[in-house]
Every structure is written in structure tokens, then in C-alpha cells.
């Protein structure tokens, strides 16, 4: 056997061994950052689930995201569920699967929260519920979040994550954009503040409505923020686009984001903003 044969035999054996070992690593133990491609042991992402290399915030369920902000939360409108308005094939099964994965009736968690002792109407969209797509049920919950906040004189903090419209609900999904925008307008007319926090991904009809209507817009590092999906643009204009062309960082440079806030600092930043927003008005004393 020649030397080169030895090398070949050795390398093919090590490759097969590696594959064997790889198969033994349970899913989720080893994480790869979709932004900077760094790979690392999952515990390195820490309690905030961020890439230790570039700060990208991984997509997490709304319940999990809530725990990173506050312990004090009373949930609102837990009974709203979609009614499948188009009678769409297989939609029912998809909803059930998403419900069991996220412990939500539909893709958003809303309620009254205390952040550092200050009351706020808080909404968190769930990217794990059919990619946080906007349907009638989560659209209704977000609308009521603003309506209740207006009635109770509360500021709104809404963390957005959405692939855009819910295809399975057609025109009903599109109408949510106008319905929620109206509730945002009424909230603003009551001189109340709305803070949006752009999470990964925020796209389509959500970008084109309430995610872009806040008084103050924060974003998570490396979050994807855009309207039309990258693939659709590429296929339309027949050109490859850079990976980061719809990043929060690019939006910041173009003037659409007030500040990019790392996940572990969001609680402090919200607390600071709420101290300003809920301060006593001039001439009231």
C-alpha cells in the first residue's frame, strides 16, 4: 500500500467517524449565527440568545422574549383565534402546529406590563408562529393593544417580528394593516407614545404599517428589516443582492431607526424612555 493510499484510507475513515460523532450531537447544542456564520456551543448565546461574535439576536418565542424584559405581566385577549376566513386547505393543521410550538393562539402576546415599576401596554410578536405573519387573530390582538392603551392612557411598546402578510388569509390579512394603523392614529391623537422595537425579521405588511409608525423606533442588532423579500427582488431585477442589504444597521444609516439596542440593554433603555414619557406634564402642578 502506497503512502497516498494510507492517507486516503485514513481521511475517509476520519470523515466517516466525524459524521458518526456529528449524528450524536443533539439538535440545538451547536449553534450557527445566520449573520456572521460563527458557530458556537449553545450556552454561549446566554440567557438573551445572542450571537457571541456579532450580537445578532436569535429568533425566540414571544413568551421567552417577554421573560427577558419583565416578570410582571397580565395577558390581554387570550381568547382570540383565527376563523380561517378563506377556508384555506391545510391551514387548520398549520395553526394547530404553531399553537403547540409557541403556546399562543396566534402570533402575538399582548398585555399590561410593568417595566421597572412603570405601566406599559406591551406586545411581542412571535417569529415562530408561521413566521409571525399577520392574520386576523394577531391583527385583532394588536389593534386591541392600542385601543386598550388609548382607553387607559398608557404608552405602547411593541416588539415586531413578521414575515409579512398571512398568505392563507388573503385580503383579510391586508386589511389588518389599515385596521391597526387606525388604532395607532387614535393612540397618537390621545398624545400617548408608541415605541417600536424591530426584531428579526420585520418585513412586508408589518414594515409597511405599524412597525414604521412609532414615535420612537429601536432595533435589535443585525435584524432584517425591509418590505419586499430579498428573493422576490432578485428574481424581479435579475441581480444578486448583498446579504445585509435589508439590515437594521443599513436602515439606521438611512435615517429610519432611532437607536440599535443590544438585547441585554433593552430593559434599561425602555425604563429610561418610560421615565421621560410618563413624567409629570408642565403646568400640571
Amino acid at each position: 500500500m502506497s503512502f497516498s493510499d494510507h492517507v486516503k484510507r485514513f481521511s475517509s475513515r476520519s470523515v466517516s467517524m466525524l459524521k458518526q460523532y456529528e449524528a450524536q450531537v443533539p439538535n440545538g447544542i451547536w449553534m450557527i449565527c445566520p449573520r456572521c456564520k460563527a458557530s458556537f456551543y449553545y450556552k454561549k448565546a446566554g440567557q438573551y440568545r445572542v450571537c457571541p461574535e456579532c450580537g445578532y439576536g436569535f429568533r425566540v418565542s414571544a413568551h421567552r422574549r417577554l421573560k427577558m424584559i419583565t416578570k410582571h405581566f397580565d395577558e390581554w385577549d387570550t381568547d382570540i383565534a383565527t376563523e380561517d376566513p378563506l377556508d384555506f386547505p391545510d391551514y387548520d393543521r398549520k395553526i394547530k402546529k404553531a399553537q403547540s410550538a409557541t403556546h399562543l393562539k396566534d402570533g402575538v402576546l399582548t398585555g399590561l406590563a410593568q417595566i421597572d415599576g412603570q405601566s406599559v401596554a406591551l406586545g411581542i410578536m412571535d417569529p415562530l408562529f408561521i413566521m409571525g405573519s399577520l392574520g386576523t387573530a394577531n391583527g385583532e390582538r394588536i389593534t386591541r393593544l392600542f385601543e386598550r392603551a388609548t382607553a387607559q392612557g398608557l404608552p405602547v411598546v411593541l416588539l415586531t417580528a413578521s414575515g409579512g402578510a398571512r398568505m392563507q388569509e388573503g385580503i383579510y390579512s391586508l386589511m389588518q394593516m389599515a385596521k391597526i394603523s387606525q388604532a395607532v392614529n387614535d393612540h397618537r391623537d390621545a398624545h400617548l407614545a408608541y415605541i417600536a422595537v424591530i426584531m428579526d425579521p420585520t418585513t412586508g405588511g408589518v414594515t409597511a404599517s405599524f412597525a414604521s409608525q412609532a414615535d420612537i423606533t429601536l432595533a435589535e442588532p443585525k435584524a432584517l428589516l425591509g418590505f419586499t423579500g430579498k428573493r422576490v427582488i432578485e428574481q424581479t431585477i435579475n441581480k444578486q443582492l448583498p446579504d445585509d442589504f435589508q439590515s437594521a444597521e443599513n436602515s439606521f444609516k438611512r435615517g429610519f431607526i432611532d437607536e440599535i439596542v443590544p438585547r441585554d440593554q433593552l430593559g434599561n433603555r425602555l425604563s429610561q424612555l418610560l421615565r421621560i414619557l410618563t413624567a409629570q406634564k408642565w403646568g400640571d402642578d
Binding site: R254, G255, E259, L277, A279, W282, G283
Partner: protein
């Protein structure tokens, strides 16, 4: 008494409080807002929300920068159209939230650049002036150092206009004036004298409301004066306040 040239020198002094330092001294919890929500973020304008004592305010300031890099980025405190757009959108947010607005001005004027012209420098200043006159919340302007041309007025259509004693407010920079009048920017000293840009003269003409001795910044009494003034303005009827704001400019 200080001559116009002395005032110009003092107004431009490096010893002048930097806008960020001034904000730090006067306000708490300052949150800086970035971007014009159209095209970019101009480093020459700082805008955000904060508390002045117990109460909320919006703060808009021009920024000259300290390091050379900062000064290049802000064109030595000369805003571009994106800066005026950022200022206006934050002022409108303040109007919605019913927060009074404080503007801190230290600018030779709007940036004279080809891109700025193409992006509508004049139009943006025009829009700011028109919109500021309509804002329903109290607006107070403090001129820190230089306040030149429409670039300064775009942030100074206010209910109260105060000037530090070492500051200047004029139709444009003395250099610009000299170059227009005599085609020679080197005659700036002569121009400064003729332009009547000192706080004393401006107060006599009722072009400003109050002169602030700079010691009021270090001894803390400026903060108290701002609180007293904003409280008084907030207690006024909105329509009366807007009528007074209009009358202030109507008299010229």
C-alpha cells in the same frame, strides 16, 4: 463694553460648552433620536427626549463637534437638509406628546454644499420655519455661540429666544457678509461691527427676549430659569401663545 469683534471671537471660542456637555448639564435621561426617516442622519443636529427637572422636554441642538473627525462629520455645525428634517420630525413628536421644545443653537449657518442644495436645503429651512410657527407646544431657543442665517432661524421660530452674553445672531456670518458687500471675506471685522449682531443691540430691538450671563450655566441658575419659563409658557392658553409668537415676528 465688548466690541462686535470681541463678541464674534468669544462666540466662536473653543472654550464654549459643547452641545452634548450642555445637554448633560441641563437635562436628565437624555435619549438621542437618530435619522430623518427619509434619507439619513445628520451629525450636525442632535435631537431627542429628556427630562428637565421633573418634567419632559424635547431637545434639539446643533453640534459643532470637538475632534477634527466630528467637526468634519458635522461640517463645523452646519446642518444639511437631513438635519433639518430630523429636527422637524422630533419637534412634531414633541408636539404630539405635549412636550415643550428647547433648541440650543451654535451654527455658522446651513451647510453650503452642492449635495445639500440638490437635496433642497432652502426648501427644508422654509418648511421648518412654517411648521415651527404652528407647533402648539412651548418652544424656547438658547443661542450658545453663533447663530447665522436661515440655518439658525430654522430652529429659532420660538416663544422665547435667549442668548448667552458671548454669542451672536445675524443674517449670515461676518465673512459671508463681507464677501457679498465688498467681495472680500477678510473684511469680517468691519462687517461684524456694521451687522449689529451683539445680544445687547438685539435685545433693544426686541429681536430676542433675554440675555443669559454665562455664569448662569455654571451656577445652576440657568436650569431654574428654564424651568420657570417653561412652566409659565405651559400655563398660557395655547392660542394666546401662538398669537404672541406670531406678533413677535410680525413687528419687524
Amino acid at each position: 463694553m465688548a466690541t462686535a469683534t470681541d463678541i464674534v471671537t468669544a462666540a466662536r471660542s473653543d472654550q464654549k460648552a459643547n452641545s452634548y456637555e450642555l445637554i448633560e448639564t441641563l437635562f436628565e435621561d437624555f435619549f438621542e433620536m437618530h435619522g430623518d426617516q427619509t434619507d439619513g442622519d445628520d451629525a450636525a443636529i442632535i435631537a431627542g427626549l429628556a427630562r428637565l427637572g421633573e418634567h419632559p422636554v424635547a431637545v434639539i441642538a446643533t453640534q459643532k463637534g470637538i475632534t477634527l473627525e466630528e467637526r468634519m462629520a458635522s461640517h463645523f455645525g452646519s446642518p444639511e437638509p437631513a438635519g433639518y428634517r430630523k429636527a422637524l420630525r422630533v419637534m412634531k413628536t414633541a408636539d404630539q406628546l405635549n412636550f415643550p421644545i428647547i433648541t440650543l443653537i451654535n451654527t455658522p449657518g446651513a451647510y453650503p454644499g452642492a449635495d445639500a442644495e440638490a437635496a433642497g436645503q432652502g426648501q427644508m429651512i422654509a418648511k421648518n420655519i412654517a411648521e415651527m410657527l404652528k407647533l402648539r407646544v412651548p418652544i424656547l431657543t438658547l443661542i450658545i455661540g453663533e447663530a447665522g442665517s436661515g440655518g439658525a432661524l430654522a430652529l429659532a421660530c420660538s416663544d422665547q429666544i435667549w442668548m448667552f452674553e458671548n454669542s451672536m445672531y445675524s443674517i449670515l456670518s461676518p465673512e459671508g457678509f463681507a464677501s457679498i458687500m465688498w467681495k472680500d471675506a477678510h473684511l469680517a471685522d468691519k462687517a461684524a461691527d456694521l451687522m449689529r449682531l451683539t445680544p445687547e443691540w438685539l435685545l433693544k430691538q426686541h429681536a430676542i427676549h433675554r440675555i443669559i450671563p454665562e455664569v448662569m450655566l455654571s451656577d445652576g441658575s440657568l436650569k431654574t430659569a428654564l424651568e420657570t419659563e417653561l412652566t409659565a409658557l405651559a400655563k398660557q392658553d395655547v392660542n394666546q401663545r401662538l398669537a404672541q409668537r406670531a406678533a413677535f415676528f410680525r413687528k419687524f
